[in-house]
Amino acid sequence: MDPHRQLSLHVPEPSSRPGDQPDFSYLKLLPAGGARRPEQDCPPQDMHDLAFDLVRVLDDEHAAVGPWAMELDPSLLLRGLRAMEKTRIFDERMLMAQRQGKTSIYVQCRGEEAIACGQRLALGPHDMCFPTYRQQGLLIAQDFPLVDMICQIYSNARDKLGGRSLPFFYSERDHGFFSISGNLGTQFMQAVGWAMASAIKGDNRIASGWIGDGSTAESDFHAALVYASVYKPPVVMNVVNNQWAISSFQGIAGGQAANFACRGHGFNIPSLRVDGNDFLAVHAASKWAIDRARANLGPTLIEWVTYRAAAHSTSDDPGKYRPADEYAAWPLGDPIERLKQHLIALGQWSESRHQAMVEELGAEVKAAAKQAESFGTLGKGPAPSASEMFNHVYKEMPPHLRRQRQQGGV
């Protein structure tokens, strides 16, 4: 056999592994303000470049530049900053609670706070998000009660979900937050269906679907793009590319061969690639896609370029598969730091005010955790009734479940 003619399998590898120098040279980064802002009704085929460009607003001097820099009320930016910081402090507290055995598992969204918080503040109150487990910012940005979130995480007597669901699998219909599922990608297709329903009823509400880079490989991602392309429902399709799916780098999901935004092109869906650590860019791009959907101009796909700063979950050790200091080298920086510096540059904020806010939020989160703890933690203190196990399988409990509940003695 001629060795030069032997086939070989291509298995992508990340640019660096534990012990290596972090290397993000694969990211093509253009200066802030470089990406153009198309008209609201721009046909998708006329904006293909934007899937390869990167929408960025905040430059290295913390100024808002370029066509995506909107006239934003500083109070909105301060709300965003506060939401992001609160999300991070909340995550840190829950990580600690998991280490203390108050819950079984937790996932942080460290480094990705701008995306959920920025989009939530651009959505209307009656729009519906179909989040993954890493969009807690969608709730926190609307000042959702932290005690309720923690009671769910602790599966305690006040857990609205009766202890039936894993921690952080919230469901908050009245806050536009669809019930989280452990099965990846499923909600991306459901978001499209929800948006179709809104269109069928002649409503003006839109859906926001969420998926990670790894889960774009699920069949649901493809189905969602097909349905969005066919029926043109009002949906924003968010791909959060944080470079990692547990231990697999985004190249294993196909991200090395082609970015995730450009996948929209084959479906003629307008597609943007956006700096996910730039709150202003997140808000502006979200607004563009939301306004477009609400104007009945159809779906938009957005790839948010960010980095998963923390471990995948409390059950994961990223030191086993990537450089320990990789996040420090991430070229798009930290979303909280960048917005903070921008507000300071605007004269709207200061390090000392920020420090005071961090302390205030820390106290708020701590108090919420303490209050939640008084209603029990996992396996300790007040707990959901065992009979909750049999509730909500069906609307009415059928006879066989009634018998099993009696048999179970609950």
Partner: protein, 337 residues
């Protein structure tokens, strides 16, 4: 009141519900303009418009995923999967999502969807147009599973399913679409018009989910059957002269255990019949229920007559299909025990 075959009864049920409830939407592959490959949705798009009745891309997971999203919004979707053999790409959306949505959200979201899908063999459908995958769904907590055996039940059960706030898998034995079929493939097909169950009332009526019906009263042995096998069991009783009580389960989940128990306690014998493959098939569950509830009334081991544990073959259609000969033999066997 008019005489209808099962297709017409199903179409009538969809028509009634599309007219009664603006939130009902019907969609699936070829169900819109064309009216469905079995004509079950013929004329509905013209009558109710494209936003109520429409064609879908060939993606079963997309069809059901969209339906789950629509249900979460507040619609009452009635999606169609063209053949039950092709429901598997949607299994994740059905079993992990539709079935669990109410449970995991404490009732905040639910999936009031009715998945219509033609099932069953006896039509030379081969491996991928003949399967009976009901056991894959009766094993899923949160689903309801229904299979009618005649036009009257088909309409009433379908309306009840659409009105139900839980997800229902509505299996339609395609062999029964145009007429009852007792497994005598060598005889000419009889149309539904000669059968009393083809008298289908106009307008709205329901047949309750979770309730079996007695297709034939008898004293000697209970036959538990559903779908096409109800008709096979009826002819087997007639041909053997054994006074069998044929219970048409209609709903597999929830199951009408009371009717089953009452019948088996009366007869003391039981034969379970289904087209699906044997191992881990629904008969296993039915036999367990009978054993749990009726053991001391049983005078013979419970028999099951099912499809063989093979994929559904083409040329060997009538060697595979559990016809009246095999069911009759089982009736004799339990009577001789």
């Amino acid at each position: 009141m008019a005489r209808k075959n099962m297709i017409e009864a199903i179409r009538d049920a969809l028509d009634v519900m599309l007219g009664a409830d603006d939130n009902v939407v019907v969609f699936g592959e070829d169900v819109g303009y064309f009216g469905g490959v079995f004509r079950a949705t013929e004329g509905l798009q013209k009558k109710y418009g494209k936003s109520r009745v429409f064609d879908a891309p060939i993606s079963e997971l997309g069809i059901i995923g969209a339906a789950v999203g629509m249900g979460a919004y507040g619609l009452r979707p009635v999606p169609e999967i063209q053949f039950a053999d092709y429901i598997l790409p949607a299994y994740d959306q059905i079993a992990s999502e539709a079935a669990r949505l109410r449970y995991r959200s404490s009732g905040e979201f639910f999936a009031p969807i009715t998945i219509r899908t033609p099932c069953g063999g006896g039509i030379f459908g081969g491996q991928t147009h003949s399967q009976s995958p009901e056991a894959l769904f009766t094993h899923v907590a949160g689903l309801k599973v229904v299979m009618p055996s005649n036009p009257y039940d088909a309409k009433g059960l379908l309306i009840a399913s659409i009105e139900d706030d839980d997800p229902v898998i509505f299996f339609e034995p395609k062999r029964l679409y145009n007429g009852p079929f007792d497994g005598h493939h060598e005889r000419p097909v009889t149309p539904w018009s000669a059968h009393p169950a083809s008298e289908v009332p106009d307008g709205h009526y329901t047949v309750p989910l979770g309730k079996a019906s007695i297709a034939r009263e008898g004293e000697a042995v209970t036959v538990l059957a559903y779908g096409t096998m109800v008709h096979v069991a009826l002819v087997a009783a007639q041909e053997t002269g054994i006074d069998a009580e044929v219970v048409d389960l209609r709903s597999l989940l929830p199951l009408d255990e009371e009717t089953i128990e009452a019948s088996v306690k009366k007869t003391g014998r039981c034969v379970v019949v289904h087209e699906a493959t044997r191992t881990s098939g629904f008969a296993g569950e039915l036999i367990a229920v009978v054993q749990e509830r009726c053991l001391y009334h049983l005078e013979a081991p419970i028999e099951r007559v099912t499809g063989w544990d093979t994929p559904y073959p083409h040329a060997q259609e009538w060697d595979y299909f559990p016809g009246p000969g095999r069911v009759g033999a089982a009736l004799h066997k339990v009577m001789e025990a």
